[in-house]
Each structure stands twice: as C-alpha cells, then as structure tokens.
Amino acid sequence: MKPKNYDYYLIVLTTIILFAIGIVCVYGITYYNYLSAVPGWTETTLYLQFIDNMNSYLYPFLVFLLISLGLCIPKRLFEQDILIKISALSLAATVILSFLLGMETAMDILLAVIAGIQGIVLIMTFNRNRAVRFEKEGYLVRMGSSMLHLGIVVLIFNFVTLRESQFHILIFWAGTLFVTAGNIFSFYPERMNFLFKR
C-alpha cells in the first residue's frame, strides 16, 4: 500500500463507520416505536433495558470510530507501519479490556488515551511543531482539523464516561467550542486567517 492511499482508505473506513452508526440510530427509532405499544413503558425497567441495549449496539461502532479518529491523530506523528501496529494494538487492547472490565470501562480507557493524544497533537499543531504531519496545507486548516477531532473525542468521552461528573456541562461546552471552532477553521481558513497572523 502506498502511503498516499492510507489516508484515502481511512476516509472510506470512517465514512462506513459513520454510516453504520446511522443505521444503529434507525434501529433505535424502530425499537422505541415498537416498545411504545406498551402503555407507560418509559416509567418501567423496560426503558432502562432499552437504553442498555441501544448503548451496547452503539459502543462497538463508537470503538471503531474512535480508533479511526485515533488513527487520524497519530498519523500526524508516526510513520505508516507504526500506525498500523498502534491501531491493531488499540483494537486488541479494547477487546481484551472489554472482556476483563466490561465494554464501558474499556471505552473509558480508550477515550481517555485518545483524548490525551489528541490534546498533545493540538498543542503541537498550535506551536507549529514540524513533527506533526498533515495531508492538507495551511495552519488554520490543521488547527481546525485538530480541534474538531479533539472536540468530538471530548464530547463522546463526556457523554459516555462523565455524565455524572460535576464538570459534565463545563466539559460539554469545551467540547462544543472545539467542534464549532474546528469546523469553522477547517471550512473557512482564509476568512479566519486574521486571528493567527504572525
């Protein structure tokens, strides 16, 4: 596989994973509608069971998405062969941890690690560190891409792991800010240029 192809296949893989998450959502809608035939079902344990079931259907795809996002992140730091090893290791570690500690705990660990790496990449990108490689040129596009990826990981981490935390809303707004600013920087770098002129 040529190095250039790697990014292309990663994009295709991410697209397929996102599409699969969409299908899980459609299933969730149908499932909810089916259960609604039971009067007052949301007041019973049936609802909790429904939530658990839906989460368990979603989590494997979230793991794949996180690994694919995770690949998107270290691809900016490491060579391709190292990346493939990292991705295989991440997947294997998540599967093993899922069996040992449960799916949610495995997700928590994976999310914490990926959020950490993503944060480092964002700082390195901000400092214009040359060790970080990007497919696309332009400081703001790179900043936007890094912020967007970090924001998504932070939001997922917050929803999955930190729902009961006292900092939940604060972290939520931080994630929202990263995602929104990341989108704007990625889509309109030329218009945002004035912010980072040196």
Binding site: T15, G22, I29, Y32, N33, S36, T42
Partner: protein, 325 residues
C-alpha cells in the same frame, strides 16, 4: 390589556397573514410552471419570470414573518399570567415570550430561509430552476398543512384561553397556573428556544441547496455542482452541529425527570449528523474514481434523513413528538 386585546391581535394576524400566504402559494405555482418551462424549453424569458417570482415570493415570506413577529409582540404585551400566591412559585407573574419557530410557524420559517438562500445561488440556471420547483412544493406544503395564519398558534391559544377561563372561575386556577408555569419557564421563555430551533432550521434551509446540487451532480456529472453542494453543506453542517449541541444542556435541565435518552427525534438527529459527517468525509476524495457518485448519493441520502428526522415529531411517539403511543 387582557384577553379581548389578545383575541383582537390574533384576528389581525390571521386576517393580514392569510392574503400574504395565499399570494405566496399562487406565486409558488407560477414559479413551478416557469421553472418547468425553462428546464424543458431553455428560454431565458421563463428564467427571468422565475427569478422575479422567487424575489417577490421571498419578499412576501418576509412580510408574513413580520406579521408573525408583531403577533408575538402583542401576545407578550397583552397576556399576563399572575400566579396565585398559594402555589409558592419562584415568580409572581409571567408573560409569553413565544419563539418565532414553533407549531405551524416552524415550517414557514424554514421555507422562508430556504427562499432567501435560493436567491444566493448563482451561476447555474438549471440548478436554480430545480430549486424553484422544490421551493414551490415546499410553499404548497406550508399553505395546505402548516399555514401559520389559518389558526395562529393553536396550542398557545388553547393555553391562554384556558387561563382566562380559569380566571373567570370555569376551571381549577391552581392546576392551570401550575401547568402554565412549567410550559412558560421550560419551553416558551427558555433561552435555548431562541438558539436551538432556528439554528437547525437555517441549517436545513442551507442543506436543501446541497441536496438539489447533489441531484444535479448525479444527472450532469459536472464538478461545479459538487462545489455548490459543498459550499452550502459547510454552513449547514456548522449550524446543524451547533444547533444540536446547544439543545443538550437545556434537555438536561428541562427533562431531568423524563425519559429522553435515545428518544426517536434525538436518534434521528444523530443519524442525520453522522450521515452529513460521512458525506463531508467522503467528499475529501471526490475526484478519485467514482467517489463523486457515492458522494452525491450520500448528499441525497442525508437530505432524506433530514426530512425523515423532521417528520419523526409527527409519526413516532417520544418526548419531542406531538403523537401519543
């Protein structure tokens, strides 16, 4: 100020708005005819008429929206809910600051913004004609199924009428006031209602153009349509993401005792968002092989999911829905 003034304001909104929306509908029919004639015969004359219809139609939409704004201001000024002291609520009274995009007004708002966006599409007459047909269908749907002037704000009206009936001693005032306090605090007057729905509807309006351009991309295989689709997908996606996320803190506060996790509308919104994310991801390599076809198909599928998500409120029970199990 009171119920009589409120009723007069409601009647004025209906009497003023009805002719406006009727003209919008008539113009939409003409717009559709001119768009079809242009696409079939390629006559520039038809295109000029189409553009005129679009401009006048958009102007009428804005005029109608001003009538809606005026009506909402009048509701605020005329209706005062003074809670009985026995209820021990944190406030003594409330007024209705009703958002401009609820009940039958939301489809109107979406159609109005879509018309404004359509006027910004430049360069491709065929695409604008196709958009003209889509907007005609949209205006017809508004006219027949979501006319905000036929029976202005029926749910708000029902609540106000019940309040004044309770004041006149025809209903349990404590019960009515308690219900109204919850509705006004967590729904009508909630700050989020001024950000969450309008951001989504503006995003939807932008994404209509992405959809139309994706259809044309599939039909013509011309790269320019992909660029137009992308140009409108960008603001659409930013507003969609921000609009969806802004709803979350409010949901935590307002629905803390309700079952809303995996609610169908929320599932639908996530589905729509991941599909648009997939579209934007796939588009990065639009020039590679046949990926442009996949991208265009994804853009169309995204819009189908958007319409489906909008309709979920009316077809599947849930906390966002108007239908009961």
């Amino acid at each position: 100020m009171g119920f009589t003034e409120y009723l007069a304001a409601r009647e004025f909104a209906s009497n003023t708005g009805q002719p406006v929306i009727t003209y919008i509908f008539v113009l939409a029919l003409l717009q559709c005819i001119f768009a079809i004639l242009f696409l079939r015969k390629k006559g520039d004359r038809y295109y000029e008429y189409l553009i005129k219809c679009l401009y006048v139609g958009t102007g009428l939409y804005i005029l109608g929206f001003m009538v809606i704004i005026l009506f909402h201001i009048q509701i605020y000024n005329t209706v005062l809910i003074e809670y009985p002291a026995g209820l021990q609520l944190p406030v003594e009274s409330s007024r209705f600051a009703v958002p401009l995009w609820i009940e039958s007004e939301k489809l109107y708002f979406w159609a109005m913004v879509a018309s404004v966006f359509a006027l910004t599409v430049k360069g491709r007459k065929e695409l604008l004609s196709f958009l003209g047909i889509i907007l005609s269908v949209f205006s017809s749907l508004v006219f027949f199924f979501s006319n905000p002037f036929k029976d202005p704000l029926p749910i708000v009206n029902g609540e106000i009428t019940r309040w004044y009936a309770a004041l006149a001693g025809n209903d349990n005032i404590y019960q009515v006031a308690g219900t109204l306090y919850g509705r006004i605090t967590y729904y009508y007057n909630a700050t989020y209602m001024w950000a969450h729905p309008p951001l989504l509807f503006i995003a939807y309006a932008s994404l209509i153009i992405t959809f139309a351009a994706c259809v044309y991309m599939l039909m013509s295989h011309e790269r320019v349509y992909d660029e137009i689709a992308y140009r409108y997908a960008k603001p659409g996606y930013i507003l969609l993401t921000a609009g969806m996320l802004i709803g979350y803190p409010w949901a935590l506060e307002a629905w803390k005792d309700s079952a809303w996790w995996w609610d169908p509308k929320i599932s639908g919104s996530i589905m729509m968002w991941v599909l648009y994310s997939a579209y934007l991801h796939a588009r990065i390599y639009v020039d590679r092989g046949k990926l442009w076809r996949t991208t265009a198909l994804l853009g169309i599928l995204c819009f189908v999911s958007l319409v489906f998500t909008y309709l979920l409120t009316y077809i599947v029970p849930g906390i966002h829905s108007v239908v009961q199990p």
